[in-house]
Amino acid sequence: MDGKRETIEKKAHGMTSTAMTAEAPLLEFQNVSKIYDKTTKALSDISFKVSEGEFVSIIGPSGSGKSTILRCINRLVAATQGTIHFDGHDIGLADKREIHQVRKKTGMIFQHYNLVNRMSVVENVLHGRLGHKSTISGVVGFYTEKEKEKAFEILEKLGLSDQAYKRCDELSGGQKQRVGIARSIMQQPRLILCDEPIASLDPSSSKVIMDHLSDINKTMNITCLINLHQVHVALKYSQRIIGITSGNIVYDGPPESLTKDLIYEIYQSNEGELITDVE
């Protein structure tokens, strides 16, 4: 039954993507607002588009709404106003089943990795498949040999295959984040959302993680939308940067034209008050 639904949906998916690649972007925010608890305005009237294959960074001060943007896409939070289109789905109108489809197609990577610490590295990577499996085989943790092979392939690619049987709480932060990446690749997503993926890592692990994300974006054609606190990292890796300040987009363009003054504007501070190594 599950299988049948999947084939129908694959057809639908094929149609939408062939019909839409020409003009429609993969992701589109149209006048989206989000108000938490009827009082906290996190996003006000935000509009932007992301095309397939892009590598986009979102920068902005703490509390400006970066995480909220990502969470609206896979409906971990529901937008209050406006419409979000992702790969032919209208997120606001989607029912439970459609949300499930959307989540299957979007990987998410977190600052604190959010792995199941007691389980092995491979098991955590295989968790990326849960959305594709029947409830019962997911519950008992039954994976096909093909899925397991795929998991090991991904681990190999991320340089973690020697850690496969370790428990996740025995790994370093950088390794954990690579497991997080492996888990989301396992989903075979169209879009990966990263919420401050390197905020808890040292500079060299950060580089490894960013290089992997950049590589995934190029070789697998997975679109990446990344929240970053490190402006210089955003400048180095992104094709496009979105700067937001208290829920408003104040910059949307290529890294080359993001001037120092604009950065100060995004972070609402004066010259000399920021720790950035932008020259």
């Binding site: 977190f110 199941v116 989301s184």
Partner: protein, 338 residues
């Protein structure tokens, strides 16, 4: 505000005039004198502090310094968070002490001489533990009875754990709907408030006195206990893990068994074993009280029927050894499920 405080600080009479309920006042007077002493010391200290600041010419500064400090009746600076918990705890303690005193005063002591009573009790204990023997029961019979008690405890724990687990999913704050959660918590609190033995007796109305009523009653209370213990263990786990699987499209039961259970299994087993120990002890008591059989019933017969202290001693030793073995096994298993 600051005026009010200054009166509190400067006049120890405020302490004496404060409404003191009908309790021994000598305690308070001693405090009042010591408070007077400490107050003078403290105000002197404050003056020094204010003088040390560059803006000391402004006399309102000293008041500013005082503004956020609240003082107790004794003139000391309060440090606890606001709320009723302090007074509530004090009142509870006073009520308990009063009840205890009342109890001791109104006991019917039947003219027992305290020292002979203690001496005789010690003698009985010595007979129990130094001369254990088995006359009315056979050793295999006793082992069988022990097994029956063990089985009662194990069955109750098993059923209680299953009900407890699903109940916990319904009321753990990081998983459940808040309304459903509150309803489940209320029901469970009620179940726990009624003692186990009472549940057994309640169920014995339908099932008759015996092992069925015992298991059902024990299960009932165990489930209530484990719902609370399990749900608190589940609440301990990092919500991020749940969210990560949710974001990847995993379904509810997949999240439960792939993230929630693995992350909390250590706590879950620890609580289950603790409850098993409790159930084993309860099964002994209920064996006697509800005629559910097992070693508790033999214990009851030896003491209330045969008045045989040595037999009682032997059975007690058996129970103690069984409990120790149980504890060792439990510790081993818990260490494995680290």
């Amino acid at each position: 505000m600051s005026k009010e405080q200054s009166t509190k600080v400067s006049t120890p009479t405020a302490v004496a005039t404060a409404p003191t309920p009908e309790i021994d006042t000598s305690y308070f007077t001693t405090i009042a004198t010591s408070a007077a002493a400490s107050t003078t010391f403290r105000s002197a200290e404050l003056v020094v502090e204010a003088a040390a600041l560059p803006l000391s010419s402004d006399s309102s500064l000293a008041e500013d310094l005082q503004k956020h400090r609240e003082k107790s009746l004794r003139g000391r600076i309060k440090i606890g968070a606001k709320g009723m918990s302090g007074p509530v705890i004090k009142i509870t303690a006073l009520v308990l002490i009063a009840l205890t005193v009342y109890g001791f005063i109104t006991f019917d002591y039947k003219n027992i001489d305290f020292f002979t009573a203690v001496a005789k009790t010690l003698h009985n204990v010595r007979v129990m533990f130094t001369q254990p023997h088995l006359v009315y029961n056979s050793f295999p019979g006793l082992m069988w009875a022990l097994l029956v008690t063990f089985a009662l405890g194990a069955l109750a724990t098993f059923f209680g754990a299953i009900v407890g687990f699903f109940g916990a999913l319904l009321c753990a704050k990081n998983l459940a709907n808040p309304i459903v959660g509150n309803i489940v918590r209320a029901i469970v609190a009620f179940i726990r408030a009624v003692p186990t033995v009472l549940w057994v007796l309640i169920f014995s109305v339908a099932a008759g006195l015996g092992s069925v009523a015992a298991v059902v009653g024990l299960t009932f209370h165990s489930a209530g206990y484990l719902v609370k213990a399990y749900s608190e263990s589940i609440e301990e786990i990092d919500y991020g893990t749940i969210e990560a699987l949710k974001a990847s499209g995993a379904k509810y039961w997949q999240i439960i068994f792939q993230a929630v259970v693995p992350a909390s299994i250590g706590y879950l087993t620890a609580w289950t074993f603790l409850r098993f120990e409790i159930n084993f002890a309860n099964a002994i008591a209920i064996g006697a009280a509800a005629g559910a059989g097992g070693i508790g019933y033999d214990l009851f017969m030896a003491s209330a029927f045969y008045f045989d202290l040595s037999e009682l001693g032997f059975i007690t030793y058996t129970v103690i050894i069984a409990v120790v073995i149980l504890e060792i096994v439990a510790t081993r298993i818990k260490a494995k499920v680290r």
